[in-house]
């Protein structure tokens, strides 16, 4: 039971990550895969604050969001004037470069990671409480993004993504919209990172490498990029599916690669057999 509850906590975290990533890549059309670095920034900010200062946890999470937003501007301000492949490569460089910095700083715990993050929920129901908070925050993020996309700002986002030249010719500021989308998406990733740090009480740089980018991207692609429910479906499916082999009692040296293999085969299968993602027919039905 404890195991299933821990998967539920992760599910909430990954729904936040995939939904916010979908806002950037699916709706904004900004091809960046640096999402895990904002997840990492949120996790490290929370970890460092929790270790050194005894701040109220929600306030710490807010600071984690703010720091992730500031770092997102560090990437987006200089690089959003480029697009497509170049933005993609820049985002990889930004992600790996910052991780390299984290690996060599003493106060982040270096390559061995940051441990001993204080526990904020004591008692026998700790995991259940975290699962509730995680799923609650995931719902909140989902609804906030849905509200944003359904409103007038959502129309602006769609118009900019579909034809940026025409959009700019009408006197609209495409750059401002890109910055806002990037900041909101990255801030949400920071929130997920904060939650992650509080739950696991340990973060290490290797958890936020390019494989993490691939995992979040997989959730969005499998669920359906540019669909509101797609990333949710993708995150739930991809977190529960590999658990099926969890009961086979393979050693960790086999389990890790095997789960990775399942992810990668799924992505490739979806790219060729159902590139529009799982929620495509639902989308069509609702249109």
């Amino acid at each position: 039971m404890e195991y299933i509850i821990s998967v539920l906590v992760l599910m909430g975290i990954y729904v936040i990550l995939s939904t916010s990533f979908n806002l950037i890549i699916g709706y904004g059309g900004l091809i960046s895969i640096a999402h895990p670095i904002f997840f990492a920034i949120g996790a490290y900010t929370t970890g460092v604050i929790a270790i050194h200062w005894d701040l109220f946890a929600p306030l710490t999470l807010l600071i984690a969001v703010a720091v992730a937003v500031i770092f997102s501007l560090m990437l987006s301000l200089p690089s959003l004037r480029i697009s497509g492949d170049y933005l993609l490569i820049t985002s990889i460089g930004f992600q790996l470069g910052l991780l390299e910095v984290i690996k060599h700083l003493g106060w982040t715990g270096g390559a061995s990671g940051l441990g001993n993050i204080p526990n904020i929920i004591d008692g026998a129901n700790r995991s259940e409480m975290f699962a509730l908070i995680s799923i609650g925050l995931a719902c909140l993020v989902f609804l906030m993004i849905r509200w944003l996309l359904k409103g007038p700002y959502g129309l602006l986002i769609s118009a900019m993504r579909d034809d940026e030249v025409a959009f700019s010719a009408m006197g609209r500021n495409a750059m401002a919209i890109k910055l806002v989308i990037f900041a909101i998406g990255s801030g949400c990733a920071g929130l997920a990172g904060g939650l992650y740090a509080y739950y696991y009480q340990y973060v290490s740089p290797e958890q936020f490498e390019i494989l993490q980018s691939s995992m979040i991207l997989t959730m969005v692609v499998v669920g359906g990029m540019g669909s509101q429910w797609g990333p949710v479906v993708g995150a739930v499916l991809l977190l529960f599916l590999p658990q099926a082999i969890g009961f086979m009692n393979f050693p960790p040296s086999v389990m890790g690669p095997l789960q990775g293999l399942i992810y990668s085969v799924l992505v490739i299968a979806f790219l060729f057999l159902r590139p529009q993602g799982l929620t495509f027919s639902l989308k069509k039905g609702s249109q």
């Binding site: 890549i25 091809i31 200089p78 690089s79 480029i82 497509g84 492949d85 170049y86 993609l88 490569i89 820049t90 990889i92 460089g93 930004f94 790996l96 470069g97 390299e100 910095v101 060599h104 390019i210 494989l211 691939s214 991207l217 997989t218 692609v221 040296s253 086999v254 890790g256 690669p257 095997l258 990775g260 293999l261 992810y263 990668s264 085969v265 992505v267 490739i268 790219l271 060729f272 590139p275």
Partner: protein
């Protein structure tokens, strides 16, 4: 600063750049001819390495035969990648993001397959990665250094001749510059893509052959090395295969010599700084003329 230490680092930097040059040229060639950022190269590099490893260590094949085995398997995998992956996606007019996801995830898949098959302990092609050394003017020169530099130089010269002096190489350049026009002239562009992959497979296999005798690797290593090839390709100029080779040498040297100015643990950060600077200020590649023009413009 001790001058002999400077020369030693310079020499080692040049020697180590050999395999990086080969990986960068392979990546740049595919980008030039096939027009994709082939992150699946990391997976292909894994295939080349582990095929040679099996040939050499399990089947006790001599090195040339192990190399041939590595090349043939990498070639086969490249053909499968092109025929069943890239061509299919191209027929569907897939976006560059789709190509990126496909090639990256394919590399990851190969990484997991090799992690399951060979584990995650570092492996090298030969039992020992130490090579006999000679002292020349106070500099330690290993036999591996000489072998690596000689092989890389010969292959690059042959590639230059192939690209500029043979009909096939010129067709490749033509198809890279304007595929539609090349088709009008009766050039079979998809077939040229296969040839480009065949050449790239050879460069990758040779690179892994040299790398595997110098360094131990885990299945994830080629994926980590890809960033270097990407930066060299950008710095050398998109579509400039030999520019990527020079950029790879320059980056290797810069990284090696940076030890004089920054602590060794920050050396790898230089790559990322270069990536940022290149994309933001030199997205079409770096050239001395452009730099001078830029400086001239600033002064004016």
């Amino acid at each position: 600063m001790n001058f002999s230490i400077f020369l030693q680092i310079l020499w080692t930097g040049i020697a180590v750049s050999s395999y990086v040059v080969l990986f960068s040229v392979a990546f740049s060639l595919i980008l030039k001819v096939v027009k994709i950022w082939n992150f699946a190269q990391a997976g292909l590099m894994c295939i080349a390495f582990y095929a040679m490893y099996v040939g050499f260590n399990y089947w006790a094949l001599p090195k040339p035969l192990s190399f041939l085995l590595g090349y043939l398997l990498t070639l086969g995998a490249s053909w499968l990648l092109h025929h069943f992956g890239i061509e299919k996606l191209r027929q569907r007019n897939s976006t560059s993001l789709t190509f990126f996801i496909f090639t990256l995830v394919l590399s990851e898949m190969m990484t997991y397959v090799f992690a399951l098959a060979f584990g995650t302990e570092p492996l090298s092609l030969t039992k020992s990665i130490m090579s006999p050394v000679h002292m020349v003017g106070g500099i330690v020169i290993s036999e591996w250094d000489i072998q690596a530099l000689a092989m890389t130089s010969v292959v690059l010269v042959l590639l230059h001749v192939f690209m500029n002096r043979t009909k096939l190489g010129q067709f490749m350049s033509a198809a890279a510059d304007n595929p539609s026009l090349a088709r009008l002239y009766g050039i079979n562009v998809p077939r040229l893509h296969v040839y480009a992959f065949a050449v790239a497979a050879l460069l990758m296999t040779l690179g892994m052959y040299l790398f595997g005798q110098k360094v131990s690797m885990i299945p994830n290593t080629p994926l980590q090395m890809m960033l270097f090839a990407v930066i060299a390709t950008l710095l050398g100029g998109m579509g400039n295969v030999f520019g990527a080779a020079w950029a790879a040498v320059a980056l290797s040297l810069l990284q090696a010599l940076s030890i004089f100015v920054i602590p060794s643990q920050w050396q790898s950060l230089i790559l990322y700084v270069f990536l940022f600077v290149t994309i933001l200020f030199f997205p079409q590649g770096f050239s001395v003329q452009k730099l001078m023009a830029w400086i001239g413009g600033k002064k004016a």
